[in-house]
Structure formats: C-alpha cells, structure tokens
C-alpha cells in the first residue's frame, strides 16, 4: 500500500499536485484565523486602489485588501466545494447502486434516468437546480452536488456491475444473504478506492463550478465571499484594477488544478503500472540502413543472373529489447527469380515474417534493417525513399497479409481502397481507376464486382477480403507478390481457393511469389523452392519437390515428419519436435538448433554451420548443418523421453 502511494509523489506532476493540495488545505484552515479581521478592514482612503507595497493586489470598492480577501476566501470556497462533492458522491452512490439493490425492473428505470441525465452537461443541471433551490450558497451547494450525482451514479453502476460478477458475491448470494447486506459488506468496500479517487478529481471540478455559479451571482451572496464572488466583484472593476479579478481567478484555478491533478496522479499511481519493456526502450532512430556497406558490384555481379527479381544478402533485423538489442533475423541471404515461387517455412518466432517485412521495407521504423545487399528489380531498397521508388514499388510489388479482417481500412469502401493505387501511381482519374478496380476484383473471382466495389470491408467475408487484397496487388503489374501467411486466418475450404488463385496468377503473368507459412504442406504444394528458417537464419534451401524425401537438415526433416498424413497412426500421439524454439534475445553460440537436435555434438554447440551447397550435391540445394543427411536415431518412446534426464 505504501509503495503504491509513494508512486504518486514520485512523478514531478504528482509531487507538485500533492504539495499544492496540502498548501491549499493548510491555507483554508489557517487563513481566516490569521487574516480574517484584516480582510474586513475598510480603508476609505484607498478605495479601488491599484496594487501597491501596502496592498499587493490593490483594494476593492470599500478599500478592503484584495489579497487578504482572496486568502481568507479559501476556507469558504473549499468547504462549499467539499460539501457539494459529498452530496454528489452520496446521491450518486444511492442512484448507482439502486439497480443492484432494487432488482431488474425498477433498477433499469433508474439506470435509464441516470443515462439520460449524464447526457446533459453539468452546468445545465446546476442551473436547473439553482433555480429550484434558490439563489445563494445553500442552493448552489445543492445544485452542484446534485448536478454531479449522475456522473457518480454512472461510475458506481459500472463499478458495482464489475464487482457483482465476482465469485465471492455470487457465493454470498447463493447463501441467501440479502442484496443490501451484500452491497454494504462485499461490494462497497471494493469500489471505495476508485470512488474516492474520482471524488478528489470531482472536488477540483466542484471548486471550479462553484466559482462559476458565484461568478454569475447565483452562488455566495454578500457579505459572505468566496473566490467566485470576489471574481464577480473584480470583473466589474477590471479596468480600474485588473488584479481584483486576476487574483481570485488565479486562486480558484490553482486550487482546482491542485485537486484535479492530485486525483489524476493518485488514479495513475494506484492503478496498474503502465507497461514498460519493449516500448520504453525501443530504439528511436529511424530505420535508415547503417549496417555493412554494400560490397560493390565486383566479381559477384557478373554471375548474378539478370532475371533475379529480389536479391537479399546478409539481411539482419535488430530491435531494442528490455536488456539490449535483439536480433530476430541474423543474416539471411536468398534470391527470387522471375516467375519463381519461393516458400519460407518455420515455427512462429523463426523470423520469417520479419524477413518478409524487412525485404519489402514495411517494417515499422523502430526496427533496424541492415543488409549487404537488398535489391528489387535492380533497385537498391536500402537507399532512402523517393517518390519515384514509391511509384515503382507501388505498381510492381504486391503484399498479401495474414489477417484479411484487419488489413483493410474499415472506414473506406473496398473500391476506393483498390482505386487509390491507380490514382496515386498510374495517374488514372477516379472513374478510370474505379473501373480498373472492378476489373481486378472480377479477375480474383469476386462475384458482382461492380456492386461489391461500393461495399465496405465488413460486408465482405474473410476469403473474399483476402482475394480482394490479392486483387489490390494486381492493380499495378506486379513482378513479385509477397504473401505473409495468407491462408492462416481462413477456413480450410477457403484456404485452397486463395492458394489456387495465387498459383493461377503466377502461372498466367509470370509473377514471382514469396509465400510465408508455418505449414510445410502449403509451401510444398504451391512453391518451387523452400527456405526453411530457424532462429533468424535459413537452415536449408531446397527444391519444394525434395521436401518430402530429400530434406538434409534434421530440423527440416522433423518439420516434415510432424505433418500427419493418411498413413499416420492416429492411435499414437502426433509427432512433435521436442524442446522449445530459441528466444531471439538469447541465441546460443554454435548451431541454434543444437539443443533440440538428436545429431548434435560438441562441434555443433561451438561452431555455427554456414549455409552452403554440399560437395557433390545440387548447387540449388543449400543446407546449414555439420551432420546434413546423417540418419536420425529412432525416435525414443514417450515414456523414455520423460524419464531421460
């Protein structure tokens, strides 16, 4: 408890507010004792005097010292505000807990009344009650108190509803304890804290509202005076002595702010601490490349085939973690040729999606992307962004994201979202662009495309949205489609449609495809080549046709074995890969897979194997393993696995 309160005064704002509240309360207690008579001293020689050494804020129309009057007025101002807030809280508690005590029918009536009253601004309610209770301090206290009641009633309703759902309240109910007793014994003690915090904030508002009513002449009446009343008198003489209006104004503002900010700080301090971690220490620099310099166009450039669409060398992604930088992608190199379909597979956390976002330069700019080379259609993507490059990428590089439900802007029509690619990058007019959008939607087999363009995303089904997303990529003339888990969020039956569509587009227009998936079968079905990622690196790069039988890396083989097929004995537990994926913040030295690998030896734990073609093997089949292709030991039976240390 103490620690929580200490948190309140630890922030500069909280400390300031606490000191202010203490000072204001002390002033309210002491000022009338110290200066009470001085504030009433009439000095006929100095009527409406300007500020001077004798009267720091000047005098009023009876020659009384304004500063002393402002100080003395603190007691009445704060007392009235506190009275009002007590009325507001008590009335709010009664109204707000009524639905709980009175049962459904009558409770709903009260709740409906409260909801209507909350819609009206407090000042309007206060004016209403001020008329009913009459002009004067008593009327104003009642008016401001009752005007604040609906807000507290709403708060109480919410809090009570939250507590009433808990187990111990349900238990008390089943024991037949009366509703009122439950309210007093179980519910109220649990909502006390937020109520008190809100009452503190409310006290600040009551103070300011009270000043408002007195300022209108509806609150405290002469000869009594509070800050609002002094302001009311002061504004009449503002041309003679501005301090007469400014001093009480400043006082009420300071006191109101003090209560308000104190309440806010307490609320923040007592609440759940705001999440730090990744966010707080996230690197603030923009994602400009600063890693290894491109190695230049020397010997490598010669043997680079000209039909390469995407060329990635030594790609690294770095984000700031709670304890230093974390590198979830640690040196990835691959290329994608024209019309080729490349699949990237791996468990979640293997860095496959980050790789996709990094090569397309869509990674949020708190993550840093470094690479020896990152080229798309011969353009260096590590260079700063330009309008020309945006146009090039906008028309030739298409993205399909995992969740079609959130990937479209919910506030804009589907047609407009497709058409803007054409208006921004292809210089088309609105109508022409929309016509192309209709055409593209039809090409991804969306029925009634000319009607559908006028609909919003929420009117599309998930599969249809994913096809529309692909259609959006086809607004230009893509050379590459990067699809990041495009079927994961879809029904099984719809998955196949989307995969067939991607395959058809690739075949028809010679478009290259990078398909990211955790599903080996999906990749094997659609792709020519498969990149297997583990702990931020590519561990095997092999033809998709070789996946089932020709995989050399133990991890790839485990992934393939984990897929159930028609011959799987369903009586046995499904195969899994023992152990856990590597935490990117704590990558072991040597081969990252060693801890889970049945073939691992001391070399594996010391030296990280490079990704390379095996001597005598196909140059298009690369593997990063010291024991590539060695026979795996027979899988231990489950009980052995449990017993082994």
């Amino acid at each position: 408890m103490q620690g929580r309160w200490r948190r309140v005064v630890r922030t500069p704002l909280g400390l300031t507010a606490t000191v202010l509240v203490v000072a204001v309360v002390a002033l309210a207690v002491l000022a009338p004792v110290l200066w009470g008579s001085g504030a009433d001293d009439v000095d006929t020689d100095a009527i409406l005097a300007q500020p001077s050494a004798e009267h720091w804020a000047g005098t009023d129309n009876l020659g009384r010292d304004i500063l002393l009057r402002v100080l003395v007025a603190s007691r009445l101002s704060i007392l009235l505000a506190l009275l009002a807030i007590v009325i507001a809280v008590v009335a709010g508690l009664l109204l707000g807990s009524a639905p709980f005590v009175l049962g459904r029918r009558f409770g709903r009536l009260v709740a409906a009344g409260v909801n209507t009253a909350v819609a009206f601004p407090g000042l309007l309610l206060a004016l209403f009650f001020a008329v009913v209770f009459g002009v004067g301090a008593t009327g104003a206290v009642l008016a401001i108190g009752l005007a604040g009641a609906p807000g507290f009633a709403r708060l109480t309703q919410t809090l009570v509803a939250g507590v009433a759902a808990r187990d111990y309240v349900a238990a008390a109910r089943t024991m037949g304890i009366g509703r009122f007793r439950i309210l007093v014994r179980h519910v109220l003690p649990n909502i006390g804290e937020p109520l008190v915090v809100n009452a503190t904030i409310g006290a600040g508002n009551a103070l300011l509202s009270f000043a408002g009513l007195s300022f209108l002449g509806l609150g405290v009446q002469s000869p009594s005076y509070d800050w609002g009343r002094l302001l009311y008198d002061g504004i009449g003489t503002i041309y003679v002595n501005a301090a007469a209006a400014l001093a009480p104004g400043a006082a009420v503002l300071l006191a109101g702010l003090a209560f308000n900010l104190f309440g806010e700080s307490v609320a923040k301090g007592l609440g759940v601490p705001v999440g730090i971690g990744m966010r707080a220490v996230m690197a603030t620099r923009a994602g400009s490349p600063s890693g290894p310099e491109p190695t230049g166009h020397d010997e490598e450039a010669e043997d680079r085939p000209s039909d390469v669409v995407l060329d990635v060398r030594d790609l690294e992604v770095t984000v700031a973690g709670p304890s230093g930088p974390v590198r979830p992608v640690r040196g990835v190199s691959f290329d994608v040729r024209r019309g080729e379909a490349v699949g990237i597979v791996g468990e979640s956390g293997s860095g496959k999606s980050l790789t996709a976002l990094a090569v397309t330069r869509l990674l949020a700019d708190h993550a840093r992307v470094d690479a020896a080379r990152l080229e798309f259609l011969g353009n260096d993507l590590l260079a700063p962004d330009t309008p020309v490059r945006r146009r090039m990428l906008g028309t030739t590089l298409a993205m399909v994201f995992q969740d079609p439900m959130t990937a479209f802007n919910p506030t804009r029509r589907i047609g407009a979202q497709l058409a803007e690619v054409a208006t921004h990058h292809q210089g088309m007019g609105r109508r022409e662009a929309l016509a192309r959008a209709v055409d593209r939607l039809a090409s991804v087999r969306i029925p009634d495309a000319d009607a559908r363009v006028r609909q919003y995303p929420h009117e599309f089904s998930g599969g249809m949205r994913q096809r529309a997303m692909i259609g959006m990529g086809l607004m230009g003339t893509p050379a590459l489609i990067v699809a990041d888990e495009p079927t994961t969020a879809l029904d099984v039956t719809v998955q196949q449609q989307v995969l067939d569509l991607l395959a058809a587009i690739r075949a028809a227009d010679d478009v290259a495809l990078v398909l990211i998936s955790h599903d080996v079968t999906v990749v094997g079905e659609v792709c020519d080549r498969t990149l297997v990622m583990y702990a931020g690196r590519i561990v095997e790069d092999l033809p998709a046709a070789a996946l089932a039988t020709g995989a050399r890396h133990p991890y790839t083989r485990a992934l393939v074995d984990a897929v159930p097929d028609m011959t799987t004995d369903l009586a046995k537990p499904l195969a899994t890969i023992p152990g856990r994926p590597v935490d990117p913040a704590d990558v072991p030295s040597g081969c990252a897979y060693a801890d889970r690998c049945p073939l691992a030896d001391d070399r594996c734990r010391a030296e990280d194997p490079p990704l390379a073609a095996e001597p005598g093997g196909s140059p298009r089949h690369r593997v990063a393993c010291w024991h590539a292709g060695e026979p795996l030991p027979a899988r231990p039976a489950l009980d052995e696995l449990v017993e082994s240390p």
């Binding site: 409906a112 209507t116 819609a119 009206f120 601004p121 407090g122 000042l123 309007l124 004016l127 209403f128 001020a130 008329v131 009913v132 009459g134 002009v135 300011l208 509202s209 000043a211 408002g212 300022f215 209108l216 509806l218 504004i235 503002i238 041309y239 501005a242 209006a245 400014l246 104004g249 009420v252 503002l253 702010l257 308000n260 806010e264 966010r279 996230m282 603030t284 397309t360 869509l362 949020a364 708190h366 945006r390 146009r391 990428l393 906008g394 993205m399 994201f401 969740d403 959130t406 990937a407 479209f408 802007n409 919910p410 506030t411 804009r412 803007e420 921004h424 990058h425 919003y456 929420h458």
Partner: protein
C-alpha cells in the same frame, strides 16, 4: 406490427433504418424527460413562485391574479397538458417581468448564442485535429517520449481551466493590456474573437489529446501497413487512412464536449456581456422570472439533444460499423 413480426420485412433490416428508429426512440424519451423536468422546475420551487417573484410586499390580489394567469390554480395534470400544448404551438408563456411573450425573447436572443457556440465548436475542431494528428505522428510508437509528456501535461492543465477564467485572462491580456480586441457585445466581427476562443481552447485541448492517442493506436493498425504496402505518400496515409479511424473515437467524446460547450456559453456570455440566452437566463434567475428561465433551460436542453443526435449521425457516416452497434 404483426406484419413486421411475421414477415421478415426487408426495409426494416436495412442498417440505416434500424439505426434511425433506435436513435429517434432515444431522442423522444430524452425529449420527454427534458420537457417534464422543465415543467416540474417551477413546481419544485419551495413556496409560491409568484409570491417569490413579486416580492413579499406585493398585494395579495395581484399575486392571485398572476397565479391565475399562469394557470397555477389548475390541477397539476391540466397544467402539464396546457404546457405541452403550448410547446407544440410555440407558446412559451409570457415573462413575469416584462409581460412580453417568452418565445419572442428566445427568438431575439438565440442567434447570438447559437453563432457563438457553432463558431467555438468549429474553432476547437480546427485547432484540435491538426494538433492531434501532428503530435500523434510525432509520438507514434518508439518516437518522441518527451514531446508526448510535454503535450499530455500541457493539455491536461489547459483542459482543466474553466472557460470563464480563460475569458477573464483573455479580456485582461488582449482587451486591457494590449487593447487589440473588443471585450463586450457582439457589434463587430472582432467581438467574436475573444468569446469564441474562451469557449474553444478547453475542448480543443481535450479533443487534441484524444485524436493523438487514437492516431498513435491507428498507426499501428494492419490497414495502415496495407496503405504503406501500397506505397502511398505519408500525407495520404496519415490524413486519408489513419485520420478517419482516429476521429471516430474523438467524435464520441467530442459530442460530450460539444454539449458542454453549449452550456459553457452561459458563463462566457456573462464575461463578455454577450447579448444571448446566457446573460438573459442569469438575469431572469436573479429576478425570478420563471417562465423565461423555464423556456431557456428547455432551449439549452434541446440544443444538447440535437448536438448528440448530429454527433451520432456523423459517427454513423464516418464509421459504417457504428450504426450496427447497439447502445
């Protein structure tokens, strides 16, 4: 009725129709509560309101005559019926002080208040949205921690200052010290500046805060990544894609601010001697001219209800999903 129950009547299924029906029902209930409250006001006042208005020295027969003229002798339900009938026909009674019809007083005073409130709302939105968008972009994930802290603290403090105190400060600085702008009346266009800003600054601070928080959240959304994947220019992404989604939440709170702004005119009008409803209602409360008070409370209340309705419709237009949402 049976028709709609048995047959799945197509027009009723349309979201806009269902939204309209639901919203209209809520408006009517609120309106009824408001009218009843304003009727009840005069009856809740302890003692005899006419005696109170005319003073203790007024002759008894005058009080009697006035009571009779106001219909206060009739049974309460008859009075209620007369009151409702009067409202429908535009008859709001007559002022106890001037004997003039209240509807005339309202009609004469309303335009000044209305123009003040509308201008203040427009000013607060015009200040808040660019400010919120820019700070949102500057403080998006991983950026501008200091900017965020400074902006949040400043806006909390500004939002706490009541509009009439801002008004007093503005009068002092721009009216008295600098002498740039008029501080009373509504005679020239320049007279609008100070009252409008007194009203607009507080709501603008709150709105800008909400827009910023929403922007920061929306910039993380998947569809913003989609927009970036389309390689749209930054301005199009922020204004065209992120802003409409950020503004919907801001509008919900903005509606509350707007209705508070309607009520805030009462205080600000009194700072600037603005010839609107606000200065009239205060004078009428002080002179116990209850028919005028009743009518103006009703006008403010209706203003609040209309404001909330406009906000809900605007929300439904901006965010097509919101009209499906039950409330």
């Amino acid at each position: 009725m049976a028709m709609t129950l048995t047959a799945p009547a197509r027009p009723w299924a349309h979201p806009w129709v269902r939204f309209g029906v639901r919203r209209l029902r809520r408006l009517l209930v609120s309106l009824w509560i408001l009218v009843t409250a304003s009727f009840a006001m005069i009856h809740l006042i302890p003692g005899d309101p006419v005696r109170g208005a005319l003073g203790t020295t007024a002759p008894a027969d005058l009080v009697e005559a006035r009571r009779h003229a106001l219909g206060l002798d009739d049974p309460i339900l008859v009075q209620y019926f007369h009151y409702l009938k009067g409202l429908v026909t535009g008859d709001l009674g007559s002022s106890l002080a001037s004997q003039l019809p209240v509807s005339g007083v309202v009609a004469q005073r309303l335009p000044a208040t209305l123009s003040l409130a509308v201008l203040a709302f427009l000013a607060s939105v015009a200040l808040a949205i660019p400010l919120g968008v820019v700070t949102g972009v500057l403080t998006r994930r991983g950026h501008g921690r200091r900017t965020e802290l400074a902006f949040t603290t400043t806006s909390i403090i500004i939002a706490t200052i009541p509009d009439f105190l801002i008004g007093v400060a503005l009068v002092y600085v721009f009216g008295i010290e600098l002498g740039w702008l008029p501080v009373a009346g509504d005679d020239t266009a320049a007279s609008y500046v100070l009252p409008v800003f007194s009203l607009a600054i507080g709501p603008a601070a709150i709105l800008a805060r909400i827009v910023r928080v929403e922007m920061v959240g929306v910039l993380e959304a998947d569809f913003v990544r989609t927009a970036r994947a389309k390689r749209l220019p930054a301005r199009t992404i922020y204004v065209g894609h992120a802003l409409p989604n950020a503004v919907t939440a801001a509008l919900t709170v903005g509606g509350l601010l707007l209705s508070a702004l309607v009520a805030g005119t009462v205080l600000v009008e009194n700072v600037f001697a603005w010839p609107g409803l606000g200065s009239t209602i205060v004078r009428s409360i002080l002179t116990k001219d209850y028919p005028v008070v009743q009518a103006i409370v009703l006008v403010y209340g209706v203003g609040v209800l209309i404001t909330n309705l406009v906000v809900d419709v605007a929300l439904a237009l901006l965010d097509p999903r919101s009209k499906i949402r039950e409330d």
